[in-house]
């Protein structure tokens, strides 16, 4: 099967997962805060496709779909977001802190950008252990103001570490436009200053995003040190109170330059698939996501003993 058809299915996993999750969130079934990856499906599909289980990746707060694409059973991710016992972290991590080392998921860190530093250590260790695996870190544009962001680029370049930087530039950090808060709106330019190979790519074009990611990973695996990819994209989610971006901008990204539509056009025009096939993929994925939601809903709450377990390795904490 054509890899693009795989990627198309993957994009639908992200889309359907987030739409289902958002629906349940609005019903009050999902606790906490919700950040969705809607609109960024191509970026997530491209990254997941290029990594392997022995790599390490640090997902960002919009990567629910990517966690599934990485190989964790969808129901375990969904159950984690519902705070259930069957979740991948027994309900202790939730949306912003789900990890699964068995597929290379090293966990999100909701202190945005902090894992830029953690990724260095994994990459350094892999190098010392003479493995040819890499550490990927997925971060939003907003993290480029963090000190760790710059410390990380500097050290990865200086030490030639196998780090893949996936910078998801969706134009805003909550409500603040990239250019209003940073010296450049083209974040790959920061990587240039650190003498790190980099590329800026249309993150809504799955063909381009896939190609860029494959090339970056190949560069790193050959022992050439880090690579920085800036994916230009756009998130559907505005701010918590609603949409704040101008109408023409919303129209462009949601209608004209919407990643799944673009992929459909490409697949059909290049004869890889027909409309019926694509419709079938969508229906299959949607049905699967509904099963995951049912599983999560039907799962029990975590065992109360979990509240105090694993604070320390090997030590219990004092009772109340």
């Amino acid at each position: 099967m054509d890899v693009l058809l795989d990627l198309y299915r993957d994009m639908w996993v992200v889309r359907a997962f987030e739409l289902g999750l958002e629906r349940e969130f609005k019903k009050g079934n999902v606790p906490g805060m919700l950040h969705t990856g809607l609109g960024q499906e191509a970026v997530q599909a491209a990254i997941a496709q290029s990594l392997r289980h022995t790599d390490a990746f640090f997902p960002d707060h919009r990567c629910h779909g990517l966690l599934v694409l990485a190989g964790t059973p969808g129901e375990k991710i969904m159950a984690e977001l519902f705070g259930k016992a069957t979740g991948v972290c027994s309900g202790k991590g939730g949306s912003l802190h789900s990890a699964d080392p068995s597929v290379g998921n090293f966990g999100d860190n909701a202190v945005e950008g902090s894992m830029m530093a953690t990724a260095l250590g994994v990459a350094l260790a892999y190098k010392m252990q003479k493995r040819d695996d890499l550490a990927a870190v997925i971060v939003g544009d907003g993290t480029s103001g963090r000190g760790e962001w710059h410390e990380s680029l500097n050290l990865a370049a200086t030490w030639k570490l196998p780090v893949l930087y996936c910078c998801v530039n969706n134009g805003y950090a909550i409500s603040t436009a990239v250019g209003k808060a940073h010296a450049t709106e083209n974040l790959y330019e920061f990587a240039c200053a650190y003498k790190m190979p980099s590329i800026q790519v249309d993150g809504n074009d799955i063909v381009a995003a896939h190609k860029a990611t494959e090339e970056a990973v190949d560069h790193i695996r050959k022992g050439n040190g880090p690579f920085f990819i800036e994916y230009k994209t756009w998130r559907w989610q505005g701010i918590f109170s609603g949409e704040f971006r101008p109408d023409d901008e919303v129209h462009y990204w949601r209608e004209e330059h919407e990643p799944i539509k673009l992929a459909q056009q490409h697949l059909i025009s290049s004869g890889i698939a027909d409309a019926a096939q694509l419709e079938q993929i969508k229906a299959e994925v949607e049905a699967q996501v509904e099963d995951w939601i049912t599983f999560a809903k039907d799962s029990p709450a975590p065992d109360p003993a979990k509240a105090t377990s694993n604070v320390y390795v090997g030590w219990e904490i004092a009772a109340r």
Binding site: C89, K92, G107, N109, S114, L120, V122, N154, S309, N310
Partner: protein, 324 residues
Amino acid sequence: MKRMTIVQAINNALDIMMAEDERVFLLGEDIGHMGGDFGVTRGLWEKYGDERVRDTPLSEAAIIGTAVGAAMVGMRPVPEIMFSDFLGTCYDQIVNNAAKMHYMFDGQFKSPIVIRTATGGGFGGGPHHSQSVEGWFMNVPGLVIVAPATPADAKGLMISSIENDNPILFLEHKALYRVRGDVDESKYSTPLRKAAISREGTDVTVVASMKMVHESLAAAAELAEEGISVEVIDLRTLRPWDEETVFASVRKTGRAVVANEAPKMGGLGADVSAAISEECFSALKAPVRRVCGLDAPIPFSVSLEKLILPGKDDVKQAIKAALA
């Protein structure tokens, strides 16, 4: 047995662990050919090379982040933060990442790092090179704080710390670096979470840490001449601290003084004294007293610094008040 300073004892522990376990590596500022600001890593770069004794830029958050990431995939990093005052620059990495990871991912990752850092006052380092920071970290579940007072303990505790699977903040008091003592040259470990009874006594218990152990021992020696018998406990692990040893001693003596160099408010002294009051109330013959630093930054001038930091005479006074 060999006479060693604390600097040499920690150096010896690092050397033993690096020779024995390839996963152990060091990173920090000027720890390589220079051997660190205080010489703790001297000679290790020559022996283990650039890879395992890794000089870094002034990127404290990246130093700790790198250590945590490497620990997640099986390494045993020992990062150095030159002065504990700088821990503010990597506080997030320690508190939100290293200390929470095992819990929030429900046991799927561990973060066995030992953060070495020079702490404490008494040498005219001024406001940014003299603080006692244990209070900043007392409130952090998942973190261990280790703080030796003698060369033998410094070595044994360092070995235990590197072998332990939890993230550890290892405080090295600058004023104690040159303290000498007999140290066994072979490999041994000193248990974590176990206080030491540095001097036995029957009238009053002094619970101390780091430099205040020495101040308390000096106070105890002088008071012995007045017929007062002081028991001095060296906590050694500050978080989680050894309640069993402390409570047993206080139940025996009926009086307690807690001696800690950091500011009084919200610190180790507050926690230990509150716990003693809570658990040993019926055994207490007097209120628990705290000997701590004053609630001020550490000034530069040595004459002013002396007014802020607690010392032997403050311990003596508190003991006498407890006995009054």
